[in-house]
């Protein structure tokens, strides 16, 4: 089922539940939401409820949910007309039940937003599966827009992931930091260690989902000072992995645009992908957080840490409350302390 259909479906179920309660128990519903029982509000709630049910039926049963989404929009217009009706003051109890609503309100909003493609700007490909962004002739790269061509497969599936961030340091400084590969684990959460074996070759150790640990050797395939570094895992590595990072001066003296493109195949193949998704380890997200940490390190001297975060990307976190004695936080892969 496509993303849009999933969203339409969830909207449908929402409509169903709300519509039913509005239609069958408008008084209770009105009370629940803090509006006094009065005939005109009851009518209002009933009408909205009826519309919800209609929308629900459409959203849930139709193969093409679009018209039913529009019904909701039409319904909004109806609501607006209802708003024209005057009523006397002092009739609502603002504070009685504020809390009855809320909760996951924002989360759902986000889902709707992503349905609209608002958070889908991080398109991870330009449709040809690999290669660099188009060049505009000045050596500046234009990343694939990704709009309308969101590729389902992620980095673990073998498609390259592209991410960028702007860092308030010169290309030379950012290049130098990155080129010293030992620095990578300071901001790449899944790297435990990178050892440079010689000018070109290095040994990488990473944690994998479910506490697995993987190691491989990589070699630098392209190295243009202050501009670009490319590397890939050597043949017969357990992990097939390649990457390019480009350092482009940002306009307006804002430092350096860091453009990263990474591809890797996890050791466990498609199973690895599934596990990664189940455990919430979205590679795209990881890379953008890695870059965020790189920015923190280079701009401020270290990674920001709160009581709640332990370098994990989880909706459910440790509460924002001081740590127990002996409890420690980690940021990135390395323990807090050394910067």
């Amino acid at each position: 089922m496509s993303n849009d259909q999933t969203i339409a479906r969830s909207l449908g179920y929402l409509s169903l539940g709300l519509g039913l309660s509005q239609l069958l128990a408008p008084r209770q519903f009105a009370q629940t939401i803090g509006v006094r029982d009065r005939s005109d509000t009851t009518t209002l709630v009933r009408l909205i409820g009826a519309r919800e049910l209609l929308a629900a039926a459409g959203l849930l049963t139709s193969r093409n949910p679009a018209p039913w989404v529009w019904l909701r929009v039409g319904g909004d217009l109806m609501d607006l007309a209802l708003l024209g009706r005057a009523a006397s003051a002092n009739d609502n109890e603002q504070d009685r039940v504020s809390g009855a609503l809320a909760g996951t309100v924002g989360i759902t909003a986000v889902d709707v937003l992503s349905g609209l493609g608002v958070s889908g700007q991080n398109g991870n490909g330009n449709g040809n599966g690999h290669g660099h962004g188009a060049s505009n002739g000045n050596g500046r790269s234009v990343a694939g827009s990704g709009i309308g061509e969101r590729i389902q497969e992620t980095v673990f599936g073998g498609k390259p992931v592209r991410k960028s961030i702007t860092i308030g340091r010169s290309p030379g400084e950012v290049y130098a930091y990155w080129r010293q590969l030992e620095n990578l684990p300071r901001f790449m959460r899944h790297l435990e260690e990178v050892d440079e074996l010689d000018e070109r070759r290095s040994h990488w150790v990473a944690t994998a989902p479910m506490g697995m640990r993987v190691e491989w050797d990589a070699e630098i395939t392209n190295d243009i000072e202050d501009t670009e570094i490319s590397w890939r895992s050597v043949a017969d590595s357990a992990v097939r992995h390649e990457g390019t990072v480009r350092f482009v001066p940002a306009p307006g003296g804002r430092g350096t645009e860091v453009h990263v493109e990474l591809t890797y195949q996890p050791p466990a193949g498609p199973v690895g992908v599934a596990i990664a998704k189940l455990t919430g380890e979205e590679p795209e997200q990881q890379i953008s957080e890695d870059l965020r940490r790189l920015k923190q390190v280079l701009e401020t001297g270290g990674v920001a840490v709160s009581e709640a975060t332990r370098g994990e990307r989880r909706l459910r976190q440790r509460p924002a409350q001081p740590l127990e004695p002996g409890e420690s936080v980690t940021r990135g892969a390395s323990p807090v302390g050394a910067r």
Partner: protein, 389 residues
């Protein structure tokens, strides 16, 4: 130590939690002497700001004494008395250099959450959900203050806590609300909400040269405060039609500049209240923008709508046609507190501003939940609660 902890929707409790300690060499630990309850805390209490978690320590408006200093802290030492601004700034990113501290690019460890909600990340904030980083708040005996050099404002002896506490949040917020209006001589400014933020916005509008300031609310005691202490005219929206009255008061022009100091939990005496509550219930709208809608309709053509009331997500029936066709300018933001702390401290020292007039209740930290109850239900003429730890 004792701390005021969010224990679920509509519930805070003072509980024993571990003492904070230095987690980063740029941290200091502050022994909190005073902490306030803010209107934003009510949005958190009511569960309108997503990503709150049971056990989160509340509080983003606080001050105290430095009792421990990280090894890389340059400008502070043990014993310094400080006010700590609510948005955490790194002091070095592009946004911080531009003075946009509340959207600092480096202090929110959960920037990925904020990116999902807002498109781009905002700064870390104390005790203000996990979306803004999951930093433990300052309604507690002690608090860890990260990036201390870039944030803590040293307070000279001789000023009381009550005189300077609000420098960490609502005084700069009200000031920024008025500053965003770009007030010209002879202009009329209307402010929705006569809560602490609205009071400071009205006061600042006068400081910045407004000829007349009109405050709008439904609580008579709050409007009285605005009249008596700030010198504003007032409209009680439950007794008067706001748009009509504003037109009447301004010779039909409408106020030149308007400030929304209400935010996402606005109340309305009209049926649109039911409408927006239904929408919120349906989770296709997160915020109830009555005050904002009204402010937009009220302002004169070409005017400025300054939004300092907090919104969390999506609003419906936003009168964009009015904004566009009448050439309005909307300005908004979580307050870039660091920008205003020193100049406002100077004004307090010079006796030009006395922020203490809004304090209606002084309670020990242990009674924080009672303070929330008073402030949330506007009981006992509650305007602002200050907790002493």
């Amino acid at each position: 130590m004792k701390a005021n902890v969010w224990t679920g929707k509509n519930s805070v409790e003072v509980l024993d939690v571990p003492d904070p300690r230095i987690l980063d060499s740029r941290d200091v630990i502050v022994d909190v002497t005073s902490a306030a309850i803010c209107g934003s805390d009510l949005h958190l209490l009511h569960g309108f700001v997503p990503t709150m978690q049971k056990g989160d320590v509340m509080g983003h408006e606080f001050m105290g004494r430095v009792v421990e200093v990280g090894s890389d802290v340059q400008t502070l030492k043990t014993g310094d008395r400080v006010v700590v601004p609510f948005p955490i700034s790194c002091g070095s990113c592009w946004s911080c250099q531009q003075g946009l501290y509340a959207v600092c690019e480096n202090t929110n460890p959960n920037s990925w959450m904020a990116e999902k909600f807002f498109g781009h990340s905002t700064a870390g904030v104390y005790g203000y959900s996990h979306l803004t980083g999951g930093y433990a708040g300052g309604q507690a005996e002690y608090v860890r203050a990260p990036f201390a050099d870039a944030n803590a404002l040293k307070i000279p002896e001789g000023l009381t806590d009550e005189q300077v506490l609000f420098l960490g949040d609502i005084l700069p917020t009200g000031y920024m609300g008025a500053e965003m209006c770009d007030i010209q001589p002879g202009e009329v400014v209307a402010v929705w909400g006569a809560g602490p933020v609205g009071q400071f916005a009205m006061l600042s509008a006068y400081l910045l040269g407004a000829e007349r300031v009109i405050g709008i609310d439904r609580y008579e005691y709050r409007l009285a405060l605005a009249r008596e202490h700030v010198g504003a005219e007032t409209i009680n929206y439950e007794q008067q039609d706001v748009l009509e009255t504003l037109r009447e008061l301004t010779g039909g022009r409408g106020p030149d500049k308007v400030i929304d100091a209400v935010g996402m939990e606005a109340h309305s005496p009209r049926p649109d209240y039911a409408y927006d509550r239904v929408k919120q219930m349906m989770k296709i709208e997160t915020d109830r923008p009555f005050a904002l809608r009204e402010a937009i309709m009220a302002v004169r053509s070409g005017g400025v709508v300054s939004v300092i009331g907090v919104y969390g997500g999506l609003v419906d029936k936003f009168p964009m046609g009015s904004v566009m066709n009448r050439g309005l300018t909307i300005r908004s933001g979580q307050c870039h507190v660091q920008r205003y702390m020193q100049p406002l401290l100077d004004r307090i020292q010079a006796g030009e501003i006395d922020p203490t007039f809004i304090i209606s209740h002084r309670l020990p930290l242990a009674e924080a939940p009672h303070g929330y109850e008073l402030f949330r239900n506007k009981l006992d003429n509650c305007e602002k609660v200050v907790l002493s730890a």
